[in-house]
C-alpha cells in the first residue's frame, strides 16, 4: 500500500470508529438518563396523614438527590413511633416494595409509622457496573404493570464523588472500604459535614431524635452465599423483641433466625441508631438469589422469581447459608417475609411495652401475600385524586 492510501484507510477507520462510538454513547446515555429520571408513583393509602421530606429535619439535604419522601402514618392516638427504612440498598427490591406496601395499605390505630421507601435514593438512580443488572423491573397488578428502578448498593457517583483513599467511619474511626462511604448502611450515625450518605444518615438521626422514634426497622435482602441471611439482626436493646419474633414466626409461619448486632461492627443501622439515640433498631434480611455471584443469566425474571439453576447447584455442593430449590425465592415471598415479620414485631412490641402501643390495620398476612402477589396491594395511581399520589 502506498503511504497516502494508508493514511486514507486510517482516517476511514477512525471515522467509522467515531460514528460507532457516538451511536453507543447516545444509546447508553439516553438509557442512563431515562433510568435516573424515572419516577415511581406511590398511592397514599388510608393511613397516610402527611408526606414530608428528609430536609425538614436537616436543611442541607434540600435539593440533593437524597432528600427522600418520609411518609407519616399517624393514628392520632398516643403510642410508639416506628420508622421503617426501605431501599437502604436499592439492589434489594423486596425492601422498597415492602415499604411501599406499608404506605399504600397500613392504617395505624394507635401510635405512628414513619416510612422511607428509598432511604438512599441516589443509589436507586444508578446500576452497578460489571453486574449487568436490568435497569428496571415491573410488578404485575390488576390494572397493569408497575415499573421500578433497579438500583445499586452504593450512592450514584454523580452525587458523591470522589471516594476517600480509605473510608474512616465517624465517630468510631473504623477503617472501611473506600466505596462504603456511599453505602448508607455503613455511614450511621452520620455527620453533618460529611459526604452525601454521611449527611443522609445524619438527617435520619435528627429525625429519629426529634420525632422521638422508639424503633427503627431496616429492610434488606442478601445473597445466599452470605452468612447473614434469613434473619433479624437486633441492637441489644431490641434483643428480646427479636428473639420472641424469631421463635414465634419460625414455629408458625417460616424459618427466620435472630442475631445480636456485633458491638465492633460500625456504621450499620442496628448498631449506631441504638447507640446514638433513644430508639432501638432491627434489621431484616430476606434471601435474594439474584445477588449471588454464582448466579446464571442476570435478568428481570431472576430478580422477581429467585429461581436459578447455578445457585441451586451451589446449594447442593453445600456452599450456601440458606436453602434454595426449584421454586426459588419469589419476590412476593420475600416481601411477605418482611411484612409478616413487621406485623409480628408490632404484636410482640405491644406485649413488652403495653404503655406505648403500636397497632396497624390493613397489612396482608404472609400466606395471602405469597398467594396473590405484591401487585395485588398496589392501587392504580390513575384511579385516585392527584394529591393522593406521591413520586419516588
Amino acid at each position: 500500500m502506498k503511504k497516502s492510501e494508508q493514511g486514507k484507510t486510517l482516517i476511514a477507520a477512525k471515522a467509522a470508529g467515531l460514528v460507532a462510538w457516538a451511536a453507543v454513547m447516545v444509546f447508553a446515555g439516553v438509557a442512563f438518563r431515562q433510568h435516573r429520571a424515572w419516577k415511581e408513583p406511590v398511592v397514599l393509602g388510608p393511613g397516610v396523614t402527611a408526606v414530608r421530606s428528609l430536609h425538614e429535619w436537616f436543611a442541607p439535604l434540600k435539593g440533593t438527590e437524597n432528600d427522600c419522601n418520609v411518609y407519616v402514618l399517624d393514628s392520632g392516638l398516643p403510642g410508639s413511633t416506628i420508622l421503617v427504612l426501605g431501599g437502604t440498598h436499592p439492589e434489594e427490591p423486596a425492601t422498597n416494595l415492602a415499604a411501599e406496601l406499608l404506605v399504600e395499605n397500613a392504617k395505624p390505630t394507635s401510635g405512628k409509622l414513619l416510612v422511607a421507601i428509598h432511604t438512599n435514593r441516589s443509589a436507586s438512580t444508578v446500576t452497578r457496573p460489571g453486574e449487568a443488572y436490568p435497569q428496571f423491573y415491573s410488578i404485575k397488578t390488576a390494572w397493569g404493570q408497575k415499573k421500578y428502578r433497579m438500583g445499586d448498593r452504593s450512592a450514584n457517583p454523580l452525587d458523591s464523588w470522589p471516594d476517600p483513599e480509605t473510608y474512616v467511619h465517624y465517630p468510631s474511626g473504623q477503617m472501611l472500604a473506600y466505596m462504603d462511604i456511599r453505602n448508607i448502611n455503613r455511614t450511621w450515625p452520620g455527620r453533618p459535614n460529611g459526604l452525601l450518605c454521611e449527611r443522609t444518615s445524619y438527617g435520619f438521626m435528627q429525625m429519629i431524635r426529634k420525632e422521638k422514634v422508639d424503633l427503627v426497622i431496616d429492610y434488606h435482602e442478601a445473597e445466599l452465599e452470605y452468612p447473614v441471611i434469613g434473619t433479624i439482626v437486633a441492637h441489644q436493646k431490641a434483643q428480646e423483641v427479636a428473639a420472641m419474633v424469631s421463635m414465634d414466626l419460625s414455629a408458625s409461619q417460616f424459618r427466620i433466625g435472630m442475631e445480636v448486632s456485633p458491638r465492633t461492627l460500625h456504621g450499620l443501622t442496628h448498631r449506631e441508631i441504638g447507640d446514638f439515640s433513644d430508639a432501638t433498631a432491627l434489621l431484616f434480611e430476606s434471601p435474594e438469589p439474584f445477588l449471588d455471584r454464582v448466579r446464571g443469566a442476570t435478568n428481570e425474571a431472576l430478580l422477581l422469581t429467585g429461581v436459578d439453576e447455578f445457585v441451586q447447584r451451589a446449594g447442593k455442593a453445600g456452599l450456601l447459608y440458606w436453602p434454595i430449590d426449584e421454586k426459588g425465592w419469589p419476590i412476593e415471598v420475600r416481601v411477605g417475609r418482611h411484612i409478616a415479620t413487621t406485623s409480628k414485631v408490632f404484636e410482640v412490641w405491644n406485649l413488652l411495652y403495653p404503655e406505648k402501643p403500636i397497632a396497624v390495620d390493613g397489612l396482608p398476612g404472609y400466606g395471602d401475600l405469597a398467594a396473590k402477589g405484591v401487585g395485588a396491594y398496589f392501587a392504580d395511581p390513575a384511579s385516585v385524586a392527584k394529591d393522593r399520589v406521591a413520586f419516588e
Partner: protein, 429 residues
Amino acid sequence: MLNHALLVLGVMVVVFAVASRLKVSVELSMLLAAIAGGLAHGSGFSARHVVDGAFTYFDVTLIFLSATFFMNIVKESGGVDYIVGGIVKRFHANRFLCLLFLTFILLIPGALTGSGSVTVLVVGALAAKVLSEMGIPKEKVTAIIFLCAAMSAAAPPVNLWAMMAAAGSNMPYVGFIGPLGALSVLGALFSMFWLGWKGSPIDAAKVAASIKVDARMRGWRVGLPFAVLIALIALSRIFPHDFPILGLPLCFMLAAATAAAVSATKVPLLRIARDTVDSLLPLVGMMIVVGILVQAMSLSGVRGLISLSVVTLPLAVIIGALFVILPLSEGLVQYASAPLLGVPLILLFNMKGIDPVVALSAMAVMWPLGDILPPTLVVGRAAVMVTGYDGSYYKGFVKATLVPALFILALSTLVVIFSGQLTFLKALG
C-alpha cells in the same frame, strides 16, 4: 442454563482466539469477545451494558493515570537520575547496600500505581544500567527488572488484583498492606540477591559520569513531592473527619503539581501527560475492556458458570494448583483473571475458614508473575525493551527468572495454607 452459559463462553473463546490470530490486539480481541458473547446471549444485551461495564474499574484507572503522571514528572525533572546517581556515588563500595536500595527504588513506582509496566518504564532503564555495571549478565539483569517490577505491582498500597477481587466480593480493601508488603518485599529482595549477588565491583566514576544529574538538583526537590503525597494520605487517615476527603487520584495530582513546581528544570507538563496516557493505553484499555467483559459474562451467566466450576473443586486441589493457574490466567487474560477467579475463591475461602484477606494477598502476589507469559507478555516484553537484552526470550530471560519466581510462588502458596496463623499481618490497615 448450563448449556446456554457454555455456548456463550464458547463464542467468547472462539472470537478471542480468532481475533488474536488475526493480529488484533489483546484488548480489542477481548472487547470483540465480550460483544460477541453479549450478542450470542441475545435478549437484554445493549450498548448500555457496554458502557456500564466500561465503568467497572473507572476509579482504578483514574488512580492509575494520576499516579503514573506523577511518577513521570518526577522522572522527567531528573529525580530518578538524582536518586540512582546518589546511591552509586555513596554505596558503590558496598554491593549489599547498593542492591538493597536498588530493590526499593524498583518497588516504589509499581507500589504507588499498581502496575509493573510503570516500574519498568520509570526506573527500569536506569536500574538496568547500574546492574549491568555491577557485572551482572544481561539476561539476569532483565530477569531482575521483571521480577522486581512484578513485585512492585504486588506491593501495597495499590494492588490492582486485590482491589478488583475485593470490590467484586463486597470485601473492604483493608488489611492488605501487611501481607502484600511482606510477600512483595521478600520476593523482590530474594530476586535481586539471588540473581545479582555475584558479579564484579562497580566502576563508580564511569557510572556516575553516564548518569546526567542537573547541577541544580537537590534532595528536597525529589523529596518534597513524595512528602506531599505521603502527608496528604497520612492526614486523611489521621484526621479523617477534619481533613477534606481528597481520594487517591487528587493526592497524586497535587503531588504531581508539587513535583512540577519544585523541579530544577522546566517540565513540559502537556507532553508528559500525553506520553503518560500513550504509554498507559494498553493497561487502561485493558481495565476498561475487562469491565465490559465482566458485564457480558455476568449478563449471560458465564461468570456464574466459571465461579461455580471453581468453587465446586476440592479445596486442596485449588490451593495446590494456584501457583500454576494464577500466572497462566494472567498471561492469558491479564486483570480479568482477578474478578473471574479471585471473587469465587474468596467466597470459597470464607466458607472454608481460610482468611480471605491474607489468602487474597498471597494470590495477588502470584498473579503479576504471569505478566512474563504468553500471549500477552506485557511486563516481560517491556523489561526486554528497556534493558536492550537481545538473547532468547524463553531460554535466556524466562529461564533466569525461574528460581526466584518459584520461590515467590512457593512462599505465597504457603501463606495461603497458613493464612489463619498470619492474620496479625492485617493490623497495618
